[in-house]
């Protein structure tokens, strides 16, 4: 791996601001972004990448591989938790194992956005439909997790709340604000075409990287707070948080090669496979799998996997792709 890719990533403003946020928590500073502002920033980021992706789609048009890639992505999100579940069951009960596995089967939107900003800085192209792939990968993992727990409790049937579970889950998946905003913005970007893009560009493109920095500053503060919770963890869960991402990302790279994706799209697929959800899935799990302990899966995905992926993961996965794709 070309070490300058790693250095350049570590010295890029987004990562440095993330590190500053972590530092702020560690020295017990009172630096904080008001939650309302952080929420507004996250809405901006989802809207911006959604709209950008839609505008790209409008330009490139839809071709045959799109449906294939989207299908593979959704399938992956449904299958990945099975692998994670069986690894985790060696030490954990079914609910906790399924909860963690669901997070790692799903995706982290901010990791994905950071990967896009990595590609933007390196001026490497990617396809607009990868954003749709991300949206499709949010939910299947939860459904798999529920099924796994159901199977484990076949006899008792108490671990998940019966009856309304499926209805609740489907509603949550459809009505999740982040996914709705992402797909809605994608569609709007697609529909409003070149003129729409000119209108939105000064907000969704020009300051995008810089606003991501502000958001990652906040993410650093928040992630560092969650790391404290890890001190009660054994080595097993810490190892899982650090090993699962590159392994899953490597799977993503293999799939990307098989699908013949471009290097940019391959990186995004690797990140989708390798990242773990700490927003949408935890929110859904609290509703449909309340027995799974959130103080396990949130610190793992937010406190360890997220920092790992944005600092070392993205350049590492890219180096792998670069080496493989280069003829």
């Amino acid at each position: 791996m070309d070490p300058t890719v790693l250095t350049q990533n570590l010295l890029s403003p987004p990562i440095l601001f993330f590190a500053l946020g972590m530092l702020a928590t560690w020295v017990r500073s009172d630096l904080m972004i008001p939650p309302a502002a952080a929420k507004a920033l996250s809405i901006y980021l989802l809207l911006a990448i959604g709209f950008h992706g839609g505008a790209e789609l409008h330009r490139s048009g839809l071709d045959g591989t799109v449906v294939l890639v989207l299908g593979v992505a959704a399938l992956a999100s449904a299958i990945l938790p099975v692998l994670g579940y069986f690894v985790l069951r060696s030490r954990l009960g079914p609910a906790d194992a399924a909860g963690i596995a669901a997070c790692y089967g799903s995706v982290s939107a901010v990791t994905f956005i950071t990967a896009i900003s990595f590609l933007d800085r390196a001026e490497i192209a990617y396809s607009g439909y990868m954003i749709a792939a991300m949206a499709l990968m949010e939910s299947p993992a939860i459904i798999t997790a529920i099924i796994l727990v159901r199977i484990a409790h076949r006899d008792t049937g108490t671990a998940t709340r019966n009856g309304s579970t499926w209805r609740t889950m489907i509603h949550e998946a459809m009505a999740n604000g982040a996914i709705l905003l992402l797909l809605g913005s994608l569609l709007i970007g697609y529909l409003s075409g070149e003129q729409g893009w000119e209108t939105m560009k000064p907000l969704v493109k020009d300051p995008f990287q810089a606003i991501l920095c502000l958001f990652l500053l906040d993410m650093g503060i928040v992630a560092a707070r969650r790391i404290v919770d890890l001190r009660r963890f054994g080595a097993f869960l810490i190892a899982f948080s650090l090993v699962a991402p590159p392994v899953q990302a490597a799977l993503g790279i293999i799939v990307a090669a098989m699908l013949g994706l471009s290097p940019g799209d391959a990186l995004l697929l690797a990140v989708l496979f390798g990242s773990a959800s700490y927003i949408a899935v935890p929110a859904a799990l609290r509703l449909v799998l309340p027995k799974a302990n959130p103080s396990l899966y949130v610190p793992m995905s937010l406190g360890l996997t997220f920092p790992l992926n944005i600092t070392i993961g993205i350049p590492l996965y890219f180096a792998m792709i670069d080496w493989w794709w280069t003829p």
Binding site: P35, R161, V222, R225, D229, A280, P282, A283, V298
Partner: protein, 99 residues
């Protein structure tokens, strides 16, 4: 000036569960409440930092003033949620200023 004795019920649940909690309150016949949707806290399930965007780590606080029988219906309606998801519920006495 009339002061009518009432029960004062305070509920803290995850912000995630707020809309469900309110549905339950209304079904239980509760005809008035006040809501603070974003509060922080600490309890059996550890810290709720109220610092992020998913609502997983944020509480909502609900204040209800109700006659004794309505208050009891509220407690019955909310208890299963506390059992499944955590949270607290406090009851105290108060007087309602008639106007």
């Amino acid at each position: 000036m009339t002061l009518r004795p009432m029960k004062r019920v305070e509920i803290v649940v995850d912000t995630l569960h707020l809309s469900r909690a309110i549905d339950r309150l209304r079904q239980a016949g509760c005809d008035g409440y006040t809501v603070l949707p974003n509060v922080a806290g600490y309890g059996d399930r550890g810290d709720q930092h109220a610092d992020e965007v998913s609502g997983v780590s944020t509480n909502a606080y609900i204040l209800i003033a109700a006659p004794a029988d309505q208050a009891e219906a509220v407690l019955d309606a909310i208890r299963p949620m506390l059992q499944s998801y955590g949270g607290i519920c406090l009851v105290s006495d108060c007087y309602w200023l008639e106007h």
